[in-house]
Symmetry: C2
């Protein structure tokens, strides 16, 4: 939770003259987003989000992320729409950083999502997969297996500080992935970070998806596996089968899974849990305490990896 | 800049049922306010600020602060209006903390205020002083001379770490205050913290005053002296006489200063600079690095104290 970069009223007003967003009435730094600085703007034309991209986001990737949001919004997915500048472009410069204006979505992200919300997320994820199928830009998943290996190489020597025996345990996972990671599943644009703080609801209805800054090309079922990890475990690390059933049913009501995807789901869920464990572990070991980046406990995902390792078939997640 | 306490959608919805504010559409933690947790709410009835009071604010003082905002708003001062609950009260409980809903004011606080803004602030400060004159509640200034002494006693032993010789220098200031601090100036409700981040503007026009959580009874001219410190010094610590002239003229256009107030102004400005130096110094020496409380450099106010010490008469601030 952070605003890394403040903006003066003069530079913001000058910046906004490039956009069809009316007159500025107020702007507040908001305590959301771990990678960028975000401001909520009120103007005579409504509410907008101003995002300044900090160094963790690769500038060369911005046309992909913004083009994707533009594409999805035009296909009827409720997600922020980048506001085009008078010259047609989407990316400007503010306070020395790449900066964009996107439309504001009403809705709350849920600190305590329930079963009904899991079904909604499954439906929305599948709809996003279908809507992205004809998006023409591509982006490799920087946090696929090769990326995990790099994170692991940087963390392995100190992994046992987090939990004794963790280094050998994760080495075993990597060995399994070498043998059993699927290689031929339906692939396309995935969100790759569809955690509860990136999904807005109004009551029980999903009102929007946000934060496409990990979106990339990868297996659709891997995205679904990430949602199983993000939405269906309770705070005590127990897996809520009712939520899993709802999430998977919601997904399949829009895009039915193939047999190969169903069979691969436990391995994908284990890989996804490893991916989030590794980024958390890396931050845990390398980011100084008290910095602006919030460090999250990697052990929450060690628990998930162990759960998935013991899964025999996707029906144990509630898959019908 | 911080949100110390997060709020779940369930407890927030339950809380809002006590207020005539319509249905919740979104809430975002905002990165403003150093003492409390603040959220910007959108509801079907408009925009509101939700404030959760953290431990730095004395709960017993809340009726004074909220009553004052209520009083001033009804007198035509543009400031947040506390929204009354259905039972008529203003203070609820949320996430275990005292919490209130106040109306949202459009406008920007200025990172780079100019001369025209200084005049506006002077006028608004005087208008606030007049409007508060018939407010019936009272609150002693916890950061008057006795409060300064306590801060100084807690910091003096390490003051020379900040700048060699500082301890003896400030001892000298206290000796002067014992002899020369005024005791019989016009007194009433003052804002006591009217820095640029507590004043909103739309273009060149002042649109509102916020953050009354230091308000108290003290000399009106002391409040004006605080504004001289907060608005009329440049980043290089030079005093901008044009801004000082504008601030003082704006104030006197609404509430002319008495001869005694004019004569006291250099001493009041020096005392006010000492007050902000001391709270900064105390935080500097006691708050751990990397905590949520932003530590501000006390030396900015040491420079101001020295400037005021050399002032012979208030005409040097631009007073006519």
């Amino acid at each position: 939770m952070a605003v890394y970069t403040d903006v003066t009223e003069g530079e913001l007003s000058a910046f906004l003259q490039n956009y069809p967003v009316g007159q500025l009435l107020s702007y507040k730094g908001i305590a959301e987003g771990t990678e960028n600085s975000n401001f909520l703007l009120h103007t005579t034309a409504g509410s907008f989000i101003l995002t300044l991209y900090e160094k963790r986001v690769e500038k060369a990737d911005l046309p992909f992320f913004l083009g994707l949001m533009d594409h999805l919004a035009k296909k009827g997915i409720s997600c922020p729409l980048p506001v085009h500048r008078h010259d047609g472009s989407m990316i400007g410069t503010l306070a020395g950083r790449p900066a964009v204006i996107i439309t504001f979505l009403e809705g709350m992200w849920l600190r305590k999502p329930g079963v009904v919300h899991c079904r909604e997320v499954g439906e929305a994820l599948a709809a996003m997969h279908l809507a992205g199928a004809d998006f023409t830009m591509h982006r490799a998943n920087a946090l696929a297996i090769d990326g995990w290996r790099k994170l692991w190489e940087a963390s392995r020597a100190r992994a046992n500080e987090v939990e004794p025996g963790l280094a050998a345990e994760v080495d075993g996972d990597f060995a399994d992935f070498e043998r059993n990671w699927p290689c031929d599943l339906p692939t396309g644009i995935i969100h790759a970070d569809l955690f509860p703080d990136n999904v807005f609801f109004l009551g029980e209805k999903l009102s929007g998806l946000i934060d496409f800054y990990f979106a990339c090309d990868d297996f659709y079922a891997y995205d679904l596996a990430t949602c199983l990890n993000a939405w269906c475990f309770e705070k005590d690390f127990s897996f809520n089968l009712t939520k899993g059933t709802a999430l998977l049913a919601g997904y399949q009501s829009v895009r039915p899974l193939s047999e190969a995807e169903k069979q691969a789901l436990p391995m994908l869920a284990r890989g996804s849990a490893l991916r989030f464990m590794l980024t958390r572990l890396y931050d845990w070991l390398t980011v100084p305490d008290g910095g602006l980046v919030m460090k999250r406990d990697p052990t929450e995902y060690i628990r998930r990896i162990r759960f998935h390792r013991a899964i025999g078939s996707a029906s144990e997640y509630g898959l019908k």
